[in-house]
């Protein structure tokens, strides 16, 4: 008995690293705030107001979250439709991330919606004029499609051959439907803001919003795949497909450049560049956003720099941050002045967002442990394979 307690203590000490401690705090606090949110109402945990009815949860959890899930359809397109099979090992993790990303979006939405118990009404009460209607349907349908795209992984894990064969037969149509839904969904999040021409700052308000949202989603799709590969290699002690990721970095360079060109031209055409250098807080947020998209180009177009782990990782991270900043700029920063309101997130809003993301990452880790999401690693000496 004495030995058991000692072993347990040792084991606990080994497991209870500061990282896990932090995770525990975030989850525990998140649960408490979650209860507060539903027991005391939106007013108790958010700084939202009649002027600023959409805050950090919409800007980060939902609008950014959907974009950060873009790796799924981007990789599905590259590998299964355009036929670049070299990237195959990256598809499954990307689709799992997309699926969990969408779950995070849905959970984030349930926190944010005022009357979440009515959400099912979107299925039966239609208003096709509403961009939000399109958004709601895209969330529902694409989450379903992502689940179906993941089923083969589950069947493989269970060694269920018959359903696996069936899923393989519908794989391509599924990927096509998924890509179309993603195209609609990514762009529709931009379209949401077409109806606020007087509220959204001219640095961001443009009829091109849906196009820009779609292009930046394609960009961040690749960046997220690279970013995550680095993370999971670090956290789960996996190998890193550096050469493959570097190649993906070149794709990222081209699509990023294309996005930047379209964006630069759009601002020029609307004569909005004057707003970029006024020193207003909008202009500063805008410049930082643009730099986060532009600076990585210098690394990504340089074959040698691209092969350096730290540079490749930093570039991908910058694009991811740039994307998040862009979404927050459009849905929040660029809107505050136009409404005459003021807003800074309540600490509980930040906490819930962290809670949802951390929980999602934990589920990701669990699933990859039990299901064949990552390709089998080449046998490394002295390393037990994770079944």
């Amino acid at each position: 008995m004495v030995v058991d307690a000692e072993v347990l203590k040792l084991e606990l000490r080994k497991r209870l690293t500061p990282g896990w401690f932090l995770v525990g705090i975030i989850l525990l606090g998140g649960l408490i705030i979650a209860v507060r949110r539903f027991a005391c109402g939106l007013g108790a945990v958010t700084n939202l107001s009649d002027q600023i009815p959409w805050g950090f949860w919409i800007g980060f959890d939902v609008v950014s979250g959907v974009a950060l899930a873009a790796g799924g359809f981007t990789m599905a397109f590259i590998v299964h439709i355009a036929g670049d099979k070299a990237y195959r090992p990256l598809v499954r993790p990307a689709i799992l991330t997309a699926f969990l990303g969408y779950i995070i979006v849905i959970v984030g939405l349930l926190f944010d919606l005022g009357r979440p118990w009515n959400i099912w009404r979107a299925i039966f009460w239609w208003n096709p004029h509403s961009v939000m209607f399109e958004v709601a349907w895209c969330v529902m349908l694409y989450t379903t499609v992502l689940f179906l795209e993941l089923l083969p992984v589950v069947f493989e894990g269970l060694r269920a051959e018959a359903p696996l064969r069936m899923m393989r037969r519908i794989a391509i149509p599924l990927y096509i439907v998924g890509i179309i839904l993603s195209t609609l969904h990514q762009s529709s999040l931009g379209s949401l803001f077409l109806i606020v021409p007087t509220k959204l700052h001219p640095l961001w308000y443009t009829p091109m919003l849906p196009v820009l949202f779609f292009l930046s989603a394609l960009t961040v799709g690749a960046a997220m795949v690279i970013f995550e590969a680095f993370l999971s290699s670090k956290l789960m002690k996996r190998g890193l497909e550096l050469e493959l990721l570097s190649k993906l970095g070149r794709y990222l360079a081209f699509i990023d450049l294309f996005y930047v060109i379209v964006k630069v031209q759009d601002l020029g055409k609307r004569g909005a560049w004057g707003h970029a250098f006024t020193g207003s807080y909008e202009s500063i947020f805008f410049i930082v956003e643009m730099l986060l998209f532009i600076l990585p180009l210098f690394v990504l177009f340089n074959a040698r720099a691209r092969m350096q782990r730290s540079l490749l990782f930093t570039s991908a991270l910058m694009v991811v941050l740039g994307l998040v900043l862009n979404r927050i700029n459009v849905s929040l920063v660029g809107i505050i002045r136009g409404t005459g309101g003021s807003y800074f997130p309540n600490w509980q809003e930040f906490w819930i967002s962290a809670f949802v993301v951390v929980a999602g990452a934990l589920v990701f880790g669990l699933i990859t442990r039990f299901l064949p999401v990552f390709p089998k690693e080449e046998a490394e000496p002295g390393k037990a394979s994770v079944a």
């Binding site: 005022g114 009357r115 009515n118 009460w125 509403s130 179309i180 109806i195 007087t198 809107i335 409404t339």
Partner: protein
Amino acid sequence: MHKGLLIDFTKCVGCGACADACREVNDLPQPDPAGSPPQDLDGSNYTVVLTHEAAGKEPLHYRKLCMHCEEPACVSACPVGALTKRPDGPVVYDSGLCFGCRYCMTACPFQVPRYTWERLAPVVSKCILCYHRLDKGQEPACAAVCPTGATRFGPRDVLLRIARERIKAHPELYVNHIYGEREGGGTDVLMLSPVPFEQLGFRTDVPHKALPDLTWVVQEKIPNIVLTGGVFLGGLYWLVNRRMRLAKDSERPCEEQDQ
């Protein structure tokens, strides 16, 4: 035919009877009589009477409320149709359908809809033009109780004609601007004022066109995107797949290959 309100600020004496009547017929909580009257729309005030003071001039009283757009941005924005425009004018809200996305609040160019943030089942709060009274053949409460005729109910075209005539008859009394005639493509609430509307806190940057068109130009393309996208992706897959199959075939030694 759309009916609405004409609110003439020059005739308003600031008695607040309209706001009181509004709260009463719409079952909104009455404010503390000892406290100061509400200074802005909120979850329990569909309309407020405000006072504008300028040096050397009589204080000016005016109202704020939902403008009841002819083509409302909020109605087009609502995913489930919880907000609707009735054929007789009012823009009305059904909390039973609403799931609380608050896109209506974001979309409204006049920044009218309010939210009851403190409630567990929050609702969107805004003037509904007393549609329940209209159904009984009555006027909206605010127009019915207004002692000076500053708020007047009627068909929009009639109200618009009256407003134009008043400006024409007394150009020295009014600014030459009927707020709501063109704003947001036109609204069923029209306002006349002796001072420019922006000085009273009204948004004068509202485009003179229906805002729902801004999103509809994109929404109407969805079927097209689905069709062309499907054909493009299917075609691309077929092409790529065929080329890869042919490439594989040609690698295989095969007697019939040269035929």
